[in-house]
Subunit: 205 residues, 4 copies
Amino acid sequence: MGIGTKHLSKKSREQQIVIAADTVLQQVGVNNFTIDQVVETLDIAKGTVYKYYKSKDELLSMVSIKALRLLLDYFKLTVNGKEGGAESIKAMLMSCYQYAQSYPEYFELIVYMERPEFHSQMDAYASISAEITDFVKTHISKEQQLGTINKELKPLTVTYVLWGSCMGMMNFIESKRNFIKNVDDIDQRELIATYAGLLASGMEA
Amino acid sequence: MGIGTKHLSKKSREQQIVIAADTVLQQVGVNNFTIDQVVETLDIAKGTVYKYYKSKDELLSMVSIKALRLLLDYFKLTVNGKEGGAESIKAMLMSCYQYAQSYPEYFELIVYMERPEFHSQMDAYASISAEITDFVKTHISKEQQLGTINKELKPLTVTYVLWGSCMGMMNFIESKRNFIKNVDDIDQRELIATYAGLLASGMEA
Amino acid sequence: MGIGTKHLSKKSREQQIVIAADTVLQQVGVNNFTIDQVVETLDIAKGTVYKYYKSKDELLSMVSIKALRLLLDYFKLTVNGKEGGAESIKAMLMSCYQYAQSYPEYFELIVYMERPEFHSQMDAYASISAEITDFVKTHISKEQQLGTINKELKPLTVTYVLWGSCMGMMNFIESKRNFIKNVDDIDQRELIATYAGLLASGMEA
Amino acid sequence: MGIGTKHLSKKSREQQIVIAADTVLQQVGVNNFTIDQVVETLDIAKGTVYKYYKSKDELLSMVSIKALRLLLDYFKLTVNGKEGGAESIKAMLMSCYQYAQSYPEYFELIVYMERPEFHSQMDAYASISAEITDFVKTHISKEQQLGTINKELKPLTVTYVLWGSCMGMMNFIESKRNFIKNVDDIDQRELIATYAGLLASGMEA
DNA sequence: TATGAATGAGTGTTCATTCAT
DNA sequence: AATGAATGAACACTCATTCAT
């Protein structure tokens, strides 16, 4: 038993567990993530984890908040202070690619959280997810008012389109590493750039 | 042991097993699919299945061939005899949505087969997968020659963009059934139509 | 579920499992040993066994520690307080025979543990194994200093010779029970005595 | 189905199967040997193998005849035309080591055949085994008459001692590759030479 | 609040042997 | 004599979750 780790404040304990879960995630990925590893990392009892988080998935959803927050930062950095227009849409999609490359485990986690089989409520995840949605939606609205994006498009709809298709593209790139041999003819970056370009130009006013 | 099912011809048995696997798939989905269920469905010995298919995943890959072939049919039906242009691209994407709605378990299976973790060769899957890729690629080339699609786009690249992003959109729609409550504000059909429209118009010459 | 067996202390449980494994071993032998039998014997959950021992082989290695420790005791009893010389070497080899007769399952287990296919670390086994090696080596050195054993022989080398050849002899005796019918012409005891005598006299100073 | 392989004479078929079994053995070793592989190698039906050999082990015992015959050749080559005496005993043991190094799969097979668990009769194996026994026994008798080997030793007993202990030594060398780290301090050849030397000198008149 | 031992259903895979044709 | 499809028992190992202390 670790020294000095007993009886932390509720909040400290929560954070401690999430940080440990994050550590484990980075080491083994979502698909090999186990509560046992978290417990071993912290040297606390398994029951303690379940005191704070109802299930493994709820704990993972807490980690995914960090992941999504980081992604939101990527989006903000991409959009702020830059010229807007459809070009900014393309830039956001590219930054999503960059994110997936830099934090593959986080990306994998997000994919995991987005799976239909995910029955639980996962309010926390939903909340930050909504924040991202809002950010993108707002950005689109703004651009529409500036006249750079087609005003007939519903911002929320477009946001979902961007999110869904982008996740799919990232996933495709990952999986094709093993499957299609001649995928190398096409540079990953070129692929994602083409994707982003098509979507962006399709949105132009 | 069922009567009259012994000593089928090799081909019959192969088909029988794949059909049973398909049946099981429709009932429980990929993620709960087990060889035991297939065996129980047919009332044959487990070893028999492994005589014909080396592993669970190889068997699933045989089922996925049916799934992909069906999807290819959807694409062909959509494209043939219709006016072409970017409009035909949109139609293909919409037909993909239709497919995912009609055969959710098949769609789920395809997603499963596309996972990076899928190490095995799965030649059969790769083959039909390539067939679909070819079909789409050829269609795009044709349209480019007709002047309806931007000639600067590489057909293969675009094909991958369509496939990856489309899979992502289907996935998104599926997952949002459980997650975001207010996704209902947006009609699924509207969402996919917007996605397809954006991409298609982005590809116009 | 057995009553009163829940929540033993960690050490108790460990011992309990090893004892049960030992029991199973005595009943069916190494080659038919299964975790399921251990679990059934104790009426505990399978997972419990795997909480304490990473694998079937690790559990077996714990049992083999008992087996080897017992063998070491045989050696010690044989050597201590007796006249030394090459005669003591012969006595050790004979005691090894006695051991194999008295604990055939243990002997079989040791053979199992010595197999090249045994990849895992099995530190525990290696440790007690080394202890035996040391004991014999030390005994040989001592006798060499007393001038009863040929000083040109390397103690460690001789130890390995004794171990390897002795294991072979035990094995031979076991196997010939089934194979060569007329082995009975030769008394087992005579056989092992001859073996031990030859080796011992070969080692004399 | 291979062409021209149907309806061979009984003897030809028997030989053909044993040769195929030998081939498989060399490729995968006893522990991974399966009837399926033999059948695949020959492209004949499984049932055919069982027509000629009652069990997998009986087939293996036929292969082991080749293995033992080869070993007997090694012994004969070692003994014939050389100076005799205890020295020839040492030479035989060394040639056994050489054999195990040159034909590890054969050696492994012999070990397999010698296991106590081997219930079947395996007459064929017993027969060639007896031939080797006889050869060694005769050699020992001869040397005893020449006065180089202690006449009080029973030739058959000594033969068994040589066989059993030698098998054990070979086995030991194999297994220690993985287990005892410092076994490298001792050269394999030195180990076996020491063993052979001890036994041989113990037998001297 | 924290513990942590215990649970136990779940599953993919192997292969020697049989027997109806 | 040859076939070869079918058998089916066997087994190691996982891990999210619970609950008595």
